[in-house]
């Protein structure tokens, strides 16, 4: 029972963190529960589908199907997160300000909500398929199904707690500061996911350039410890990054920064103030 609790908790932990952040980011947006709930539900369903076809998926791309699939869905999440940040740089003020209730803002807001719902779905899908396979194996094997089921349920509950704590921690930040904080948080989240995608492509041998390990900080903080894992999810910490992973990480941060500058604040709003 304890073993299944730990396994399930370990998998839902990462998804819990991401859902918590997305909930805090969208705090002021109408209809956000519907979108994010939809994202979680779609993620769970997709996880079941992926688990059912795990064997077939692995055999794609000369046995590297899992790695390529993971890299692909991570890249989707990176695009969605970056797009959200750029979009918020342009429309964030309208959403937070008096226009919040206006019909237009709600329509516009749902575009960004869609992007974040995809991110939530991807997070749940990635972790969920492993849980589904594990629980299925247990049920199929028939060994002490009840204890494992209880353990799995408790693990899931703990994951939901992580989500709640992340959310409650973030919403303590005043709204104005929250926007800046979550922008940074999402940029780091996206950069970390992009580096993870690079790691998957390296494992698949699709990317082999710049594969030297830059540093090994495993003695200081292992990325498989709980804190290391949390930092891995939040800012992409890994104890043995390759040059490629580091390059991709920094590139995403730079791209986000440049895009936010280019498409961010409408020019006419800031121009007259500078004199």
């Amino acid at each position: 029972m304890i073993a299944s609790l730990i396994i399930v908790f370990r998998e839902v932990f990462e998804a819990g963190l991401i859902v918590g952040i997305v909930l805090a980011v969208t705090r002021t947006v109408a209809q956000r529960n519907l979108w994010i709930g939809g994202g979680v539900l779609a993620g769970v369903l997709a996880a079941c589908v992926v688990a059912a076809f795990a064997g077939a998926l692995s055999n794609l791309f000369a046995g590297m199907g899992q790695e390529v699939f993971n890299a692909f869905i991570l890249i989707i999440a990176v695009v969605m997160l970056t797009w959200h940040n750029v979009w918020m740089a342009r429309h964030g003020k309208e959403l937070a300000g008096e226009l919040r209730a206006a019909g237009q803002a709600v329509v516009e807001g749902s575009k960004s909500l869609f992007a974040l719902a995809v991110v939530v779905g991807v997070a749940v899908l990635r972790e969920g398929s492993e849980v589904v396979l594990f629980l299925y194996g247990v049920i199929a094997g028939g060994d002490s199904g009840v204890g494992v089921a209880i353990g799995g349920f408790l693990g899931l509950l703990l994951g939901v707690m992580v989500c709640l704590l992340t959310y409650l921690g973030l919403v303590r930040i005043p709204t104005r500061a929250l926007f800046a904080a979550t922008t940074v948080l999402i940029a780091l989240l996206a950069a970390g996911m992009a580096a993870q995608a690079a790691a998957f492509l390296e494992r698949a041998n699709w990317v082999t350039a710049l594969d030297n390990v830059v540093w090994d900080s495993g003695w200081l903080l292992s990325d498989s410890s709980l804190l290391g894992k949390a930092l891995h999810t939040l800012i992409g910490y890994t104890d043995q990054p390759t040059v490629m992973q580091l390059t991709v990480y920094l590139a995403i941060l730079l791209i986000t920064f440049v895009l936010m500058r280019l498409y961010g604040a409408p020019a006419q709003a800031t121009a007259p103030a500078r004199r």
Binding site: M64, S129, E130, W206
Partner: protein, 118 residues
């Protein structure tokens, strides 16, 4: 017009760059050490495998069990789900000499093995 031409040039350049990366990947994979491994009833066979240092390693793992397993090694940075009765290829980057433990994440306590790099 000129912008679209330029962007198509950039795209084709990117494709060429990507292809060359993939091509070098395929060439490099050939020099890797290949190791056969099988899994059944919470046991790896053999439980200890070895490989030379500083060369990429390819582990061919056959899951002879009736359940899916997840091959994982924290030190080797590998994590892979292998369906019941399925084969899997696991690419491991070149390693320094040492002992690297791996396990089935679904049975972490009992189902363990190690790769010794010399």
């Amino acid at each position: 017009m000129s912008i679209s031409q330029m962007s198509s040039k950039v795209t084709s350049l990117a494709v060429v760059a990507l292809l060359s990366v993939v091509a070098t990947g395929a060439a490099r994979a050939q020099s890797a050490t290949e190791i056969q491994l099988s899994y059944k009833d919470k046991k790896f066979d053999p439980a200890e495998i070895s490989a030379p240092a500083n060369t990429p390693i390819v582990i061919k793992l056959k899951n002879n069990d009736g359940k899916a397993m997840e091959f994982e090694s924290k030190t080797l940075k590998v994590e892979k789900i292998i369906a019941a009765g399925a084969d899997a290829t696991i690419n491991v980057r070149a390693q320094k000499p040492g002992r690297y433990e791996f396990f089935d994440e679904y049975n972490e306590k009992t189902a363990r093995g190690a790769l010794v790099v010399k």
